[in-house]
Amino acid sequence: MLATKPIVIAFAFPFVLLPTISARFLFERPQGDSLRRRIAIPDVATVYETVATAYVDATTNNVQTQTTCTSSDVGKVITSASSSNTSPASSVSTNMYTQAAPAQTTDSQVTDTQVNYVQNTDVQNSHVQNGVKQVDKSSYSPPQPDDPTNNGLYGPGGIPLISDVQQHATPDCWLSATLAAIAYANYPALQRLMTPSKDGSVINVLLYANGIQDTYPIAPVMDSIGEALSNVIANSTNPDPATWPATMELGLKALSKKHDELGISIDLNTPGYAETAFESHLRLD
């Protein structure tokens, strides 16, 4: 078993909803603030492993099923990179469609008690101050749009776009939605996480798990089509795709492989949690 420093995720909001079924989660109630709750988590991969079956609503104690994270290609046999996107929404253009006025609902599910910010408060290695990730901007050089080795990774514009994320065969909505969220709100973070080597032979993917930050060299995605990950298939329908979503999937898969040797794994083909995806991206510098 790993002798790792625990990652402590502090939730800034009361009565958060988070996996709590295992005794491996050590709840603490900070003195003088009963509304705040901290949860100590051994490591990212273990979080996933532990909560993979069910979790308990910290507020109501109602056992809830976790996401099934359905892929958009259920039952579809993926045979090659030329698999086409037969999205039923392919006929939906940029026009918007509006239905009738909404009816009111009463059984509210998202409440203040179920909202939380994920924060990394690992003291020794923390770069989080006041809940905000601090990045040493002098320590990296984001890829530039005119860098020829960058074209395939981030697309023609050289910038990760939310539309680059197209989850298909792999039921990893927890990862895909998170990547899309980062592309939408903080795309420079993705540029720091994935940097092409100088000769373009590999993409170095920076991820964090088990108390350490590691770089995982990933072959350019078009060379790894056999991996048949979710976003590889999606991008295959685009003649000029951005491959960073698939690259990140491969990076997480490489991370999983490394930690699987130690008895911990992250399986992209089974349900997961956004916390896992967020946590793997927290250590950016």
Binding site: T70, S91, T105, Q109, Q114, V115, V118, V132, Q166, T178
Partner: protein, 101 residues
Amino acid sequence: MVWQMVLDARKYPSVSLSSDKATTKLGLEASHYYTLLGGDKSTNTVKMRNPWGHVANVDPSTGLLTTYGKSVTIFDDGVFIIDFNDWISTFINVKSNPIST
């Protein structure tokens, strides 16, 4: 506080998980993570995106969600806007990562 988190989604990467009743209640995919894109308090709406890159259960002849009789606005690439009350009754959590560059 929920509204603030919705509004913060533009600067803090955020996702939201639909409940297992999302299909029957809204016509959206159940138990599925969506990217939270933001909201508009003046119109009481929330903007989201399905990571599939499209919204499921859309009737191609009408562009409407087939099992949903309420207000929804669907854009290309899986982006859609729903009423805040519908969202809050159908999604079970929000996760946000306040990383900063």
